[in-house]
Symmetry: C2
Subunit: 219 residues, 2 copies
DNA sequence: TGCACTTCTATTGTATACAAAATCACCCCG
DNA sequence: CGGGGTGATTTTGTATACAATAGAAGTGCA
């Protein structure tokens, strides 16, 4: 599936990223460049390139003495992340509403159908759900045609804690995402920027509260 | 003033950044790693580190074939940059309003006094103005205590076009900034997040329109 | 002339060796 | 037993050489 002749720095980026997102890495643990080059099978030079990218996504952090660690956030930081993501994705949705074309609308519909299929299994296929969800949001971002927004978003999505708790979501919660997406498509079809913006804001904030409940279940 | 034992990658970062921001670099011109290592006096390895940082600030861009160029934006992109900056800095101001302490308030006041001094010369000292302005906004950002916001902001400030047109601002426009800052301080003193947010939004959007007029003077 | 193909050159990518810096462990002295 | 320093070890930083790739410039053939 992946390009076998991928540059080493890209290999390193993907391997390390997966290592962190899949939860093999413990938040706060140290990552030496040496160790990372073993994990990814390339030398330290491309590893350092990969690490710079991961630093910008805030998946790894650097201590004052330049040592690397797997990121670890407080509850407040996760909250702030969702807040910022809601602001920026809502803005993206508003821009997309003004710029969207019929082909893109159709594609969004197709992706959301796949998302629904992933949910409507006897036990929902969370991996496929996350994959379809990512593609849905990425397409909107692309449609917003804002290079700067594209640069900023990676620092606000795909965080390990969030990914891991996704498996605890109920079918009802996953279905609500599909319903939100349908309403977004309706707003896009009407080319109503305000509507799209509002729906996206609700969508992200609801995701945050679903996450909070899954992460810290009340007894 | 600068640390003489600065790491080479930091030297490279500052030299290249200055090279671009001071307008010695022409938007769209190619930057080879070789050339950059000559400019900064270090080898290509630390240059590559520096370039990664500059890429995130979108001061340099990479073509599909990985060649580097000085960034060059359309009017629409500058507009979008100010819009995003207004959103995020307003959010930062709101957070800061809830968290600010007396020492920080006093410091903000002191910085704004320096800013006013820079403006109230027979011919305003634009360099000092920009310096004080930067410190004022940086302090608010720090006070917002959001690591993520801190990571995002560098991609939205200090753009070459903006810096260069700053020298064309009228004394009235520069003074208006000082007045905005005073009102921000008032909002912070009252710990009124909404007020702070509104003032910051107006402040950034006014700056955008001042910039537009300076950049594209109407006959 | 136009256009494919091939060589050459410019530029980025990677590995490795060594330098610098930070951390750690230990020992000595009080 | 504690504190401070000192040497060893780990880790990051830098330079350099070479490999791989993209772009440019020719070259020959129709």
């Amino acid at each position: 599936m992946v390009d076998p002749m991928m540059p080493a720095s890209e290999t390193a980026y993907q391997k390390i990223r997966t290592f962190i997102l899949q939860g093999e890495a413990i938040p706060g643990m140290q990552l030496t460049e040496e160790k990372l080059s073993e994990i990814s099978g390339v030398s330290r030079t491309p590893v350092r390139d990969a690490v710079r990218r991961l630093e910008n996504e805030m998946l790894v952090v650097r201590s004052a003495s330049k040592r690397l660690f797997v990121a670890d956030w407080s509850e407040g930081e996760v909250d702030e992340m969702f807040t910022l993501r809601a602001m920026l994705e809502a803005h993206a949705a508003a821009r997309a509403a003004s710029r969207i074309d019929d082909d893109t609308l159709e594609l969004l519909h197709k992706i959301n159908t796949e998302l629904k299929d992933a949910v409507n299994q006897s036990s929902p296929d969370v991996t496929s759900f996350l994959e379809a969800n990512r593609r849905f949001h990425d397409l909107i971002l692309e449609c917003a045609q804002s290079p700067r927004l594209n640069k900023l978003m990676p620092a606000l999505v795909e965080q390990p804690v969030v990914r891991q708790t996704a498996h605890q979501y109920t079918k009802t919660q996953l279905n609500q995402s599909a319903i939100d997406h349908d309403e977004l498509i309706a707003a896009f079809t009407a080319k109503d920027a305000d509507w799209a913006k509002s729906v996206m804001t609700s969508h992200i904030r609801r995701a945050f509260h679903s996450f909070s409940m899954a992460a810290v279940p009340k007894p």
